[in-house]
Amino acid sequence: MPIIETQNLHFGFTKNELVLKDINLKIEKGTIYGFLGPNGAGKTTTIRLLLGLLIPSSGNIQLFDKSLATDSLKIFQNIGAMIETPSLYEHLTGFDNLQITRKLKNISNKRIDQVLEIVKLTDASKTRVKAYSLGMKQRLGLALSLLSEPELLILDEPTNGLDPQGMIETRELLFKLNKDFGTTILISSHLLSEIEKIVTHLGIIKKGKMIFQGTIAELHNLQLEHSLIQLETSNNEKAYSLLNNNYKASYNNEGIQVIFESREQVSHICKTLIYAGLDIYHFNVASNNLEDIFLTITKN
């Protein structure tokens, strides 16, 4: 059973202009789902829709197999969320901020100490939030979302503004929550490199449309499809006919493009051309990493 499922979700701030088109998200229990896309692609809007902060123009949203439109309070019992910057009362201490959310969620007082320990803010809990650094505020925001030991964490760009150490710590914390407590996590980012180490599944959105959804392994397959060699030889026509027997190759004025799937194939392509007596003028192995793939599919 998916924890989050949307069907044909459309949304527009005005009737005529849709900013989200046909979003079909499916997030299974226990996964860490990375929601990726360039700035302005519609990530935050989608998350706001998932949390009922915006009303969809059409389509369905289901969380925990319940309709968000009718069962939002039951659904919110099991959710911890942080959207963009954390919502903090800066004139109050970190402890007071947690106390407010604790009371509204009606949970035990001792949980405050536990989450402060988790985000390493115990010593700063009696300091007013306006004296906190950006990283501390972000960690306090995370503590707020962890208070109710939620089954589902929805985090919109949680590492924004954090230094590299802060990013690593946040990643480790999320990984631990998922591993130790089975927390399902939806985390959005505009940088694949920021989350690729912890996510199990990915959804990529661009200009309000989902352009990829699947596992990291499926994205790796996509990576192989996009790995190609660009080459130019003393006789491109001959080279093309030699390579086209074994590889997916194309030939145009700029040279030959050959898609490969392994490093061994790169070596084989090279040898084939040399043994045929061809001079190689240009041999460019464009082996895309996941970031390149992400950039490629969000550009094109």
């Binding site: 706001r48 949390l51 004139h91 407010i100 509204l104």
Partner: protein, 255 residues
């Protein structure tokens, strides 16, 4: 604990270290403190005639003071209460908590009335304390040999509070819809300025909510009716605007 009680208790935490809380105490003290200065410097003017109760004079002056000051105080305090949420960008957090919008709306309204209750109780207590102090300071003022007419004071306050209900409901709605505190104050100040210019008088001022409290300047109770026309209209506005803002907050407002 019910959701409203829990939400109300969070309002008390949120108000810590805020200007809204200080304003409640300072606002209640301004008029009584002004009276201390007035009486001390001109005490001979306030020596009562034989048989006259000096408490009537001091409370009448005190009430005239809050008649002008309280509408501004109400507008400011409501703006500040919602500004706590706006500054923290808190709506997106609050609305994804397992607490209904109705509970949150009602707890906020209740907390506002709680602050206003503190304000009025402090105001009356301080005016009384000022009278006792002045009585000790100048025996001729005769405060210590007489007592305030508590029944009349309560009646006046009840009518005055009813007169302010329309402004409360309107600004409660405006303050979550218009996030800019200055804009809210601007609307309120314009309304109060018009009401003062009209001196609360004129054919249509009974429909103009900002003039209702001003109409209670030098108030003489109507021997026939407990409530004046404008009190009833204020109550009507309060019910209508509260219902509309409740529906807007719970059904449409997304923060």
């Amino acid at each position: 604990m019910s959701a409203i009680t829990r939400a109300f208790s969070t309002e008390t935490i949120k108000s810590k270290n805020t200007f809204a809380l200080w304003l409640t105490f300072i606002g209640a003290a301004i008029i009584p403190l002004t009276l201390v200065i007035t009486y001390i410097y001109n005490w001979k003017l306030f020596v009562p005639e034989p048989g006259q109760n000096p408490w009537e004079e001091i409370f009448a002056r005190s009430f005239n003071g809050i008649t002008l000051f309280t509408p501004l105080f109400i507008i400011l305090i409501i703006g500040l209460l919602f500004n706590i949420e706006n500054r923290a960008n808190a709506w997106k957090h609050i609305f994804v908590l397992p607490i209904s919008k109705s509970s949150f709306y009602l707890s906020k309204y209740l907390f506002l009335f709680w602050l206003l209750l503190i304000y009025y109780i402090l105001f009356v207590s301080l005016t009384w304390a000022v009278g006792l102090f002045l009585g000790a300071y100048k025996k001729e003022l005769n405060f210590l040999n007489s007592a305030p007419e508590w029944g009349e004071i309560l009646t006046y306050l009840t009518k005055f509070i009813i007169g302010t209900l329309a402004i409360i409901a309107i600004h409660f709605w405006l303050s979550f819809r218009i996030k800019n505190l200055i804009a809210n104050l601007g609307i309120g100040l314009t309304g109060i300025a018009f009401a003062i210019l009209l001196n609360g008088k004129g054919g249509y001022t009974i429909y103009f909510p900002y003039s209702f409290p001003i109409k209670m300047l030098n108030y003489k109770p109507n021997p026939t009716y407990f409530l004046e026309d404008y009190h009833i209209i204020s109550l009507f506005y309060f019910i209508i605007f509260s219902c509309l803002s409740y529906l807007d907050f719970t059904k449409r407002f997304k923060g």
